[in-house]
Amino acid sequence: MKPFDYQRATDADSAISLVSGDPEARYIGGGTNLVDHMKLGIAEPGKLVDITRLPYDSVESLPDGRVRIGATVRNSDLAAEPVIRQRYPVLAQALLSGASGQLRNLATTGGNLLQRTRCSYFQDVTTPCNKREPGSGCSALEGWNRHHAVLGASERCVATHPSDMAVALAALDADVLVEGPDGQRTVPVTELHRLPGDEPERDTVLRHGELVTAVELPSLPFASRSRYRKVRDRASFAFALVSVAAAVELVEGTITDVRIALGGLAHKPWRATEAERVLRGAPATEETFRAAADAELAAARTLRDNEFKVPMTRNTLASVLRELTRQEGS
């Protein structure tokens, strides 16, 4: 590990100026991803600015029905928050399906959103990887790519985003509040992460020095009927092979509104707009569910080892929709 400076920020402005003024500086939240990367030699920051003492550690219900989650709220605390459990069960479930209790106690909302891919070539500095070393090539294309993307990938990179929480946030149409040297801006969570395209080294649209301060959830009343389902290789403590976050509004057997996002399939939490389009206004039947899944997966491109993700996604999505519509109807 390369030597680094460590500073604990006490206010946002100084944190932002510390990081934006120094190309080698990085924010650190719980450190559960960044410190691993430093050990593996993937990240070599010269300065760490610890943001966990900034006043972003609470969950607030806003007067207009929105809910604001501070960027340093720990994953465990967020999952236990009554307003999240009641109004956005999909988010609580997604959080609790991730990592382990110890990790969730440390991991922050901002850090979870910005965690990087688990692609094994990305994590192995002795192998070529365009994300780690632009232009060096993508080892996963011809290599072990069981965990890799089937949607939205490019010739340069086929990595997936590993976060469970971000999939739920994408389904909920959350906004990410960002503060930078030039002031504040709001980025919809669905636009925070990028597709790899020609620049797989850029995971998100954030600029160096921009600080995530909060995530805001829209009021979205029907999200109280929502679900996160994660399919993985063992019963707990494993990343998603495939996951589905969904919320359904059902009126007399017809789906009047719906939000779906998919995990484990793409370089970003994948908002399933095609599936939503098929479902909106349609009867809640098995045929509709399958048609929705097929519409979304029509664009899927599989690699040597990940063909199974397509039927797995189709079946998981259908199963989640079945469950949500059954619940609502009965």
């Binding site: 590990m1 390369k2 593996l40 479930q93 399906s97 688990r118 094994s120 070539y121 192995d124 002795t126 192998t127 290599g143 072990w144 069981r146 389902r229 994660k230 399919v231 993985r232 290789d233 063992r234 019963a235 707990s236 403590f237 494993a238 990343f239 092979l241 080892d305 063909e307 199974f308 397509v310 039927p311 797995m312 079946n315 998981t316 199963s319 079945r322 469950e323």
Partner: protein
Amino acid sequence: MSDTHAPAHRPQDLDDAIAGGVGESPLRPDGTLKVRGDFAYSSDLWAENMLWGATLRSPHPSARIRSVDIGPALRSPGVHAVLTAEDVPGRNLYGLKDIDQPVLAEDVVRYRGEAVALVAADHPETARRALDLIEVDYEVLEPVVDAELAAHDDSLPKVHPGGNTVRYQPIVKGDPEVTADVVVSGTYTVGMQDQAFLGPESGLAIPAEDGGVDLYLATQDLHTDRKQTAAALDLDPELVRMTMSGVGGAFGGREDLSMQVHVCMLALRTGRPVKIVYDREESFFGHVHRHPAKMYYEHGATRDGDLVFVRAQLYFDGGAYASKTPVVVGNGTTLGVGPYDVANVSIQGWGMYTNNPPCGAMRGLGAVQPAFAYESQMDRLAEALDMDPVELRIRNAISRGDTTPTGQVLDYPAPVAELLRRVRELPLPEAPAAGAEPDIRDLPGGASNTTHGEGVVRGVGYGVCIKNICYAEGADDFSTARVRLQNVAGEPLAMVHTAAAEVGQGLVTVQQQIARSELEVERVNIHPNDTSVGPAGSSSASRQTYVTGGAVQAACRAVRERLLAITAERFGEPAAELSLSGGKIVSRESGVLADIAEVLGSEAIEETREYHHRETFPLDERGRSERAQVQHAFSAHRAVVDVDTELGLIKVVQLDCSQDVGKAVNPESVVGQIQGGSAQGLGLAVMEEIQVGEGKIRNPSFTDYLIPTILDMPPMNVDVIERGDPNAPYGVRGVGEPPTISSTPAIVAAIRAATGRDLTHVPVGPEHIIG
């Protein structure tokens, strides 16, 4: 308390039951400490003024080393030594069977992770950073990565000058060309499994004034480590003293050297204590793994279901160095038909060098891979014959008096059919009531709420196996025990001293139990294991209770003999009339003569004994041997599995086992071994695989290499039977390995029964079930 005024007791007055003897389950002396986190493991070692060692490893699976520049590393502050192959004082080669692995690579590296240089520094981080400053100029070469190809394609590069075959062994019995009514064939593959022990490789070396070195470490076999280390250090073995420190699991992964020579070299060079501890990633590169295998099988049977022949070709990928590959080939081929009586056998086994990670010992050595294949074949055959798979197995089960494929007659119980019948009779889990909402915790995916039972189907499968116990094929297999009996504060205390490694299996308890039973004393201490007593051999091959147990028994009996002789002289009674009971010496004629402590007085009685098991003999070129293996053990599993066919998820609902242990010296430990072994077999069945591509491990972490958690491991019914082996001390039969072997095929059979899928590879993943 001794009451000298009391009349002598008659034998019937004695409370002669010394608690905690053979056949009981006394508390483990290390148990409470381990559970409370107070147990000191070798990674906790610490010495005043010590330095930290680190290892530079090859990033390439195959390369020529053009040059190594250690200058910048050596000049960096805090660094005390940087060593390369040139600094190896003695023989720069070691190995358990073939001596083929360099301590530090010289002109070539043969696998990714091979040690190239060493650093000692005043802080572990300083040492690691210094590694980055060592400049190695590599000429990268094309790696050999396919063992089957390596066996037959002479145009491939040679990983070692002698060629790519480590061992080739055929086994021929009867008529290899015979035909049969019904023939089934299949090709099976087993992925590379890791031992996944929790305590990483670690040791602390302290240079001694006599020019030698004291090494504290976690290992499976002190003396074999010492022999190899002393040769590399060019020291008399007596000057290389090793002491066992807390071992955090082993499962075969600590049989080969890892940091032993390295840490001693650094200590001797710097004149200071040096400690090396691997981190988890380095540990994946720092120890051998289970051999991946590709196996072609053909089984022929009569229409009635009698096996006529078994033919097989087995390819084991040994990776870059031989390690235990010769033994894997020996076990794989000799046990390749399974626990069945087969008249005509033709098996060929190849253990190959490649540029993949070296593979060696792991629980079930060489028997795990063929068991998956031959049990899959038995199920196929049952299907082809339209027979019940358990009945087919029972019909062909080997039993006492039968001849193995190597020509060895089994002269001890082989209750294979009985085990199958028993495991079949164990209670099955209740099927979920029709129409009732299932408890999601019981479904595939478990509490994470993945499945709601729509596509879930249940299957039941069986597996049975054979494993040889102890070293085989002519190895002189023995262990040594020194037992000292003395009077401590008026009570007799026995001290048992061996070099046998407690790797978690409960050997310390077993040794205490044997001493209690043999010497009729309550208090038994276990001396720290070190090389100041004779060799014990490795804690492997399920052999320690057999051989070290035998040595402790023999040493105790020698001590007892002397004690009785002293008593006989003092009391004028013939020694043959005396015995020990409840801490006292009893005469058949006149009852209690004295307390053991009294007779001992201030004298201690100490005896050292070796125990050698019956001789074994090598295989000839047709794989024949009068006795290739000294003992065989058997277990049978039944798995009940739920599979979500839509999501490809598997949940093992119940895993039951019947096993013959000869004699359960410690019944609780036996059950623990069966549970643990079964969990390891479950891991291989449904999740554990080191992914290797182009010679590189892709998942060297416990985040990416998955082992079962408590949520994946089902409840077990464990049925232990004791059909003693008349040749073994107390009739014991090795326990640790069989349950690792028969659990895997049982689980896969259950998944096949549930899904109708072929499933020819383990681990089975969702991709094999859906799509």
